[in-house]
Structures are given as C-alpha cells and as structure tokens.
C-alpha cells in the first residue's frame, strides 16, 4: 500500500498546479453518484473546473461521461453528492434543492445538435433570449451569427444547413444567453472526418473568443488532446486522472489511462542502483520519471509508446527479438516485436523504413523524455 502512495505522490508533484481545486472554480462537483436501476453510471465523482478553461471528459462508451454532463446541465438528478455552478448550489441529493435546467446558467451543445426544426437559424439563436428587449436581442443574434460565420444563413431552416453549419448554429444558440458553463456532448461525432478536424479548431477558437468555460465529452483521445486545456479520463463512472493533455499522456496514473490514450507496451524492469535492468539492456535510472529510493531492488513495468522505440535489423547475438506484425498506416508503419524474453513492444517508424515479418531486430529506447512506470503486477 505504501508503495502505491509514494508513487502517487511522486506523480502528483508534477500535476500539482493542475489538479487542485482553485478559488475561481465555476463548477464544483463533489461526490456525485447516479444510478439507473442497478447500473451505476456515475460513482462518487468529484471535479472542479476553473473559469475560462476547456476541460474534456474522456472515456470509453458507457463510462458515465454523458451522464456526468447531464447531471451538470440539470437533465438528471444526482442520487448522492452536490453540484455547485458559479458558487450556487444547484443540486444536492436527498433535498428538494434541485435547480431545473432552465434556471441554471449552463448551455448545452447536443450530440445531434437538437436545432428546433420549425425555426430559422436566427430564431434558433434567439430562442434563449426571450427576456431580452428586441433591439438587444437582434444585435446579439447578429453578433453570434457573425462569430460563427453564418450571417448569410440567418433565414435558413436547420434542414437547409450542412452538418458543420448546424453545429455552428447550435454553438451560437447555446452561447447566446451568456452561460457560465458550456457543455458539449460528443460535439464532433456527427460530422465527417475532415470536417471534424476543422471544427475542433473552430470550436476552440469560438469558445476562447467568447471567454466561456467549456466542458466537453468524447471517447476520441485525439480530439480530447487537441482541444482541451485539461483532460479528465473516466472509467466505470469514476475519474481516473485529471491533468493537462501532455501530463496525462506522459505520466498516466494507471495502466488503464496509459492504454486508453494510445498504444502502450510495458517493459519489465528490475531496479538495481543507478540502473534499471530491462530485456533491452540496462536503462539509466534518471530516465525513469520520479523513481523514489523505496523502489530499490523491486520489479517495475516501464511504459513505452511506439514512438519511443526504434527497431533495427540485426544478426545473431545482437538481436533482441523479431517482427511479428506490421500495419501500414500511411505516413508511418506500426511494428510489433516479440522479444526473446517473451514480451512484446510496439514501434512506430517512418513509412520509408522497411522491415519484413520475421526479421530479427535490435530494439532501442529512443525517447527524449522521462518514461512513466508502474509497480510490477503480482
């Protein structure tokens, strides 16, 4: 137990600035649980989101991330825990103090955009501005349509708009009433692949321009990495880790996080003095991130990602293993190498490198950064 704690501490040191609730939090979720029948969708979830940041809940389908979003929006009631938005308590279990969605300062961009089919684009954007006076409303709608670049489409109905245009209108509509928090539920999943990449940049630009705090939900790790200030990786209703995209990717706190964020191989190692013995030969202790003295003479698993590894053809004694699998990805090629010791590692090469199956290779750790590690599994 103490072993795990020390390891966690070491990692926390790097995440300290990202992980702690700060006084300017606009959203504070504390121990929230939501159960549907016997299925626990969200399990004592706690999370704090700072003003103006863009945080992504990332996890496989069924991990409870959409339910978390709906709890924040007020579309579901929590069974346990409390939620604060902008300092105001909006939901507490057991009490009737539940603020319905229309009285929360929270906007939502729905997965299917959910534009009102009987209204024009401008009328959709104006929907949440019913209390504004006519002049202000008109000005605000015009401003938002310009911001999303669709001023020319004000009078079009949703079905006349393309997917990307519908998405922009949905975004403008949700930002119009100036919400404290904007929630985005799998915002890009209904778009074509090309448009998806373009809209990621676009949505980030619009959110930052409007200065709105955003929480999005996705199962696509590339999307989460590319648009977020911080990423919260979820599994089975719990948050596994929160941090910057780089922090979470390079220093995953669990094997699940390591595997979910990208290809991950684990290289067994034995710590002796200043060296860590691995099947690829000794590795300097200083190359392993935050390895405390308590771990001397224990077994660990070092996380290696395909881009950390280089495989070269080699003969006889110098070979570490052989190529057992090859996948051509266009610009790069992914190789799987079975080491003589029985483990497998994956290596990502430039597409101009050619290794045939069964080629004996020598494998080299080519990472320029610290490597993450986990105590060996019993």
């Amino acid at each position: 137990m103490s072993v795990r704690n020390h390891r966690a501490e070491a990692q926390e040191r790097t995440e300290r600035t990202e992980d702690r609730p700060s006084p300017d939090a606009v959203l504070e979720i504390d121990g929230v649980t939501k159960t549907f029948g016997s299925d626990c969708a969200v399990d004592s979830l706690s999370l704090s989101v700072r003003e103006g940041e863009l945080l992504t809940l990332l996890g496989p389908s069924g991990c409870g991330k959409t339910t978390a979003l709906r709890l924040i929006a007020g579309l579901e009631r929590p069974d346990e825990g409390t939620i604060h938005v902008g300092g105001e308590r909006v939901a507490t279990a057991g009490e009737r103090a539940f603020v319905p969605p229309e009285r929360r300062d929270v906007g939502v961009v729905f997965q299917d955009f959910a534009l009102f089919p009987h209204m024009t684009a401008a009328e959709n954007v104006a929907f949440g501005l019913a209390d504004w006076n006519a002049d202000d409303r008109e000005r605000r709608v015009a401003e938002l349509l310009e911001m999303v670049g669709l001023s020319a489409y004000a009078e079009n109905t949703p079905e006349e708009l393309s997917g990307g245009q519908q998405q922009r209108i949905a975004l403008a509509r949700s930002i119009a009433p100036e919400p404290e928090i904007l929630l985005l539920d799998e915002p890009f999943s209904n778009l074509d692949v090309d448009l998806r990449v373009e809209m990621r940049e676009e949505v980030r630009r619009i959110l930052k321009g409007a200065g709105v705090t955003g929480i999005s939900v996705t199962h696509d790790q590339e999307e989460a990495m590319s648009i977020s200030d911080r990423v919260a990786v979820m599994a089975e209703g719990r948050i596994e880790q929160v941090g910057t995209p780089e922090g979470v990717f390079q220093h995953p706190r669990s094997r699940f996080v390591a595997g979910f964020l990208g290809h991950a191989s684990f290289l067994p190692g034995y710590i002796s003095g200043d060296l860590v013995e691995t099947p690829l030969g000794p590795v300097g202790r200083d190359r392993i991130h935050g390895l405390a003295a308590e771990y001397d003479y224990t077994r660990i698993d070092v996380l290696v990602r395909p881009d950390d590894v280089l495989a070269r053809p080699a003969e006889g004694e110098r070979a570490d293993g052989r190529v057992t699998y090859r996948r051509y990805l266009g610009p790069t090629v992914l190789y799987r190498v079975e080491l003589d010791s029985g483990e497998t590692v994956e290596a990502m090469h430039n597409h101009s490198d050619r290794l045939s199956l069964d080629t004996p290779v020598t494998v080299e750790l080519a990472a320029a950064h610290d490597l993450a590690w986990f105590p060996a599994e019993e």
């Binding site: 709906r70 929006a73 007020g74 579309l75 579901e76 009631r77 539940f98 319905p100 969605p101 229309e102 009285r103 929360r104 929270v106 906007g107 939502v108 729905f110 997965q111 299917d112 959910a114 534009l115 009102f116 089919p117 009987h118 929907f127 949440g128 019913a130 209390d131 509509r173 949700s174 119009a176 009433p177």
Partner: protein, 532 residues
C-alpha cells in the same frame, strides 16, 4: 371510422429529471375514465335484467340465429377480403403493372367510403322493391339478406387486407426472393418459402381488421335486412326491448374481444429487413390486360356503379314525391356542425393523453393510452345504446335535447384516430430538442408552448380532420342520439331507405362520397399507408 392503429410503437422517452407532471397524468386519466364510462353503463343496464330472463333470452333461438349469421358474415367477409386483397397487393408491388400508383388508389379508395352507401345503391337498384326488381320482376338475382351483406361489406372492407399486405410487401427486401431463386427455387416456390412467411403478419393484421369491421358494421346489414348483432340490437331497441338489446350488445362486445385478443397475439411490428430493393418485377406479359381489367372492374363496382345509380336517381323522378324527405341544405350544415364539435372535443381530449403516453413509459401511461382505444373496439351501435341508457336513466335533460350526448358518443368512438396521429407526432420529437429548450432557460410550460406545440400541430390538425370526416359518415350513433328535429345527411339517407324512396338518398349520398374522397386525401398525406 376505420383507423389502422399501430399502438405497438415502443419508442418512448422522457427527460430523467423532469417526468411529466402529475396534473397531466390526472387529466389523461380523467379522459380515459370518461371514454370508458359508457361501457360501464351498458354492463349496469344488462345487470338489471333478471337472471332467469337473461338466461332465457341468451339461449333463445333468435339469439342463436343472430350469432350464427354474425359469425358467418364475419368469416365470409374475411375470407373474400383475403382473396381480393392479397393478389391486389402483389399485383401493385411486385409486377410490372402499368400505372400501379393509380390502381393502388383505386383499390384503396373503398376503405374510406362507408359500406352503407354502397348498400343503399345496390339495394335501391337490385334489391327487393328496387328499380330492377320493379321493371323485370324477380328474374335477376336480388342483392339482399345475409348474402347481399357479405357481398357489399366485402367490397368496402377488402382494402384493409390490401393495404396491410402491401405495406408488408414494401418493407420486405425483394432481393431475398432473388436470393431464393439463385438457390434454384421457382418463382412460386420463392414466394411461398421466402416472401409469404415475411408478409404473413401483415396479412393477418389486415384480415383481423376486416373481421372487426364486418362484425361491427351496422348500415349494410340493416339496409339488407340481415339479422346480425348490430341490426338486431337496433331493431330490438326501437321496439323497446331494451333489455334484450343490452344483452345482445354485450355478446357482440365479447365476440369483438375475442377477435382483438387474437390480433394482439400476432406480432405485427415486424419490419423484417426493411429493404428498399424491390427486386426484378414479375412480368405480366399477356396477363397485363386481364389484371388491369380486374382492378378496373372492382373500381367500377365499388365507386362508379353507386355514383351512377345516385346520379340516375338525381335526374329521374320515380314514384310519388314525398315532400318531407326532400333534401335541405340544413342537413349538410347540421352534419358539419356536429362533426366540427366532435373534432374539437376529440383533439382537446387527445392532446393530454397523447402527450402523456408519448413522453412517459409507465404502466399507468400504457393503461390510459389503451383505454382511449375503446372506441376502436366497440361497435358504434353499442356505444349508442350505452349512451341512450345514460341519457334516459340519468341525464334525461341531455337525451335527444342538446348536441352534447351525441358529440360525446362521436368522441368516444373516434378518439383513437386523434390520439394516434397526435401521439405519433409527439414521438417524432427528439428528446434532445426539448432538453435544448430547457437548457436555454425555457421552463416546462414555455417549452411546451414554444417548441412542442408548434411541432405537433400538424398531427393535431390531421387528427381533427380525420375525426371530422369520419363523424360526418357515422350512422348508428347519429340515429340513436341525434337531437330531435335536427336531421343530418346520414339521417336523410336512413329515412329515404325506410320509406323505400331511394331517390331522396341521392344528394346526401353523393355528398358523403365526396367527403370520403377528402378522407382519402388526408390519409394519403399521413404515413403508413404505403400508397404515395
């Protein structure tokens, strides 16, 4: 009068944090109780009959005859409808029949024309005392009695089988039959072994609707003088044998219940493969002309002959004039007035029920929704009788005095049409659309007003129009509950038939055929008939 109601649509959603309010549930429950209440009156009335006398009446030879006739009518109509409807459906979907869309409309049109319109035309021309009878004596076969009723009811009922079979054929993938043929099955073999098993639920659903209509129909057996439940109930009621009428009505409801139970046991909602691929159409070749002739002949029999007969009566005056039967525009105005009231009340009743059952999936919502379908199952003559009891026993100030008892009867009978159309438009609204409104600061009531209502309005209007048009054509309930001194189109037809002065039925009958055409237009614009 003839809703094909699919209440098997199980897509039901609700906003987790915001179930429909209990006020809405209470309102829906109230509507359900109201429309079920007439049946309670009927049971209560029947229960006041002395047991010994009830026993004697139920076992009387007349009851046995009526039961035998009714079942015979139902079975014969169902069998003949299958023989007409299934081949027509195959003809219009799987062959290279030219103008197949036109033939589809021709074959479907009799659905919306009440069979008594056809009955009075054929009886007036070919029945006892009709024109042909008078001119030639009894040398030609007469159209009357049970056989006449089977003939006429089939002509206006087979479209049920035609349309459900057609819809089933359209939703099955034609390439499956082609796959069978590549496995060396002959065309007939492929139809029998691959297509037929897939469309069987559709055929069965149509057959049961036909059976339901045949046993519920009042006008045709009454005009043909056939002793079945519906006509006998009315005749006993007119002869003040109300106890017997009530007992017969309960027996009729029991038979209908058996039909419905069989219907519920058939899995209907099988969209199977749902392919759009029709496959290679069957080449009719030399059979093209006989096929078109067959459909044309049906169209002539169901549509052209009645219209021609009525038009003939319009231009020729046969027999002594009876001034009291002469057509007055007031008849049409009264019909429109009653139908408008019925349509408005039905929409008002349907809205809470459809919204509640469309947005909630609970035992209560299912029971309430099903309860409002009582009018779909209970024949008009039975609802009429039940409300007569209510009127004469408890609310004499309403009975035949104002319009409200009659309008209530119409609403009970035709509410399923309004609930069906409104509910399907409620189901078409995505959850997230309503949730989006809520997150944009609109409360539940504002969301309903600004988003839900505009989106379901087309469904409400379509439901209202259907109720309006079917109310215009309703015969038995109008006959039993119409306020004294306010005649309508259907009453004018009834009285002309009673006096054997058929020509006075011509104008109101032609007007009703026109209204039937409008019904078809509305139905074609609704989905699910697979015609357009």
């Amino acid at each position: 009068m003839k809703p094909i109601t699919s209440y098997l649509d199980l897509r039901r959603r609700q906003i987790g944090a915001d179930p429909p309010s209990s006020a809405l549930a209470a309102l829906s429950a109230l509507v359900a109780v109201l429309v079920v209440s007439p049946m309670a009156w009927l049971v209560w009335q029947a229960a006041t009959v002395e047991p010994a006398r009830a026993y004697e009446l139920i076992l009387s030879s007349q009851t046995a005859l009526v039961t035998a006739n009714s079942v015979a009518l139902m079975l014969a109509v169902t069998a003949l409808s299958l023989l007409l409807g299934v081949p027509l459906a195959v003809l219009t979907t799987r062959t290279d029949l030219p103008y197949s869309r036109l033939w589809t409309v021709v074959a479907a049109l009799p659905l919306v024309i009440p069979s008594y319109i056809g009955a009075i035309a054929f009886v007036g021309m070919f029945g006892p005392g009709g024109e042909v009878d008078t001119l030639f004596g009894a040398t030609l076969p007469r159209v009357d009695g049970l056989r006449g009723a089977v003939f006429i009811v089939t002509l206006y009922t087979y479209p049920y089988v035609f349309l459900t079979t057609r819809a089933a054929l359209l939703s099955t993938d034609g390439s499956l039959a082609e796959a069978a043929r590549t496995l060396n099955a002959s065309r007939l073999d492929a139809f029998r072994r691959v297509t037929l098993p897939q469309i069987r639920p559709g055929i069965a659903a149509g057959a049961l609707l036909a059976a339901l209509y045949a046993i519920s129909d009042f006008g045709t057996p009454a005009f043909m003088g056939a002793n079945v439940f519906t006509s006998t109930i009315y005749w006993e009621f007119s002869g003040f044998a109300v106890e017997y009428a009530a007992l017969l009505a309960l027996q009729l409801v029991a038979i209908v219940a058996v039909v419905l139970v069989i219907e519920a046991g058939i899995g209907r909602d099988q969209d199977a493969s749902g392919g759009t691929d029709r496959g290679q159409p069957i080449r009719l070749g030399a059979w093209t002309w006989p096929a078109m002739g067959f459909v044309s002949a049906l169209g002539v029999l169901t549509l052209v002959v009645p219209v021609a007969i009525f038009t003939g009566w319009l231009v020729r005056s046969v027999g002594d004039p009876i001034p009291s039967l002469a057509f007055q525009p007031e008849f049409a105005l009264n019909s429109v007035y009653f139908a408008l009231l019925a349509a408005f009340v039905a929409c008002a009743f349907a809205l809470p029920v459809a919204y509640y059952s469309g947005r909630t999936n609970s035992l209560a919502s299912r029971v309430i929704e099903r309860a409002t379908y009582v009018g779909f199952a209970v024949p008009g003559v039975v609802i009429g009788l039940a409300l007569v009891f209510l009127g004469t026993r408890t609310l004499p100030s309403l009975y035949r005095q104002g319009v409200w008892l009659l309008v209530f009867a119409y609403v009970v009978r035709f509410l399923p049409q309004a609930v069906g159309t409104v509910r399907s438009s409620v189901l078409q609204i995505d959850d997230s659309t309503l949730e989006a409104a809520r997150t944009l600061d609109a409360g539940p009531i504002e969301t309903f007003r600004r988003v839900t209502l505009p989106l379901i309005m087309p469904g409400v209007v379509a439901g209202g129009i259907l109720v309006f048009l079917t109310t215009m054509k309703e015969l038995p309930m109008t006959l039993m509950l119409q306020p004294v001194g306010t005649n309508t189109l259907v009453i004018a037809i009834w009285e002309a038939q009673n006096a054997l002065a058929y020509r006075y039925a011509a104008v109101p009958a032609l007007l009703l055929i026109l209204i039937s055409g409008l019904t078809m237009v509305v139905m074609l614009r609704q989905e699910g008939y697979g015609v357009t």
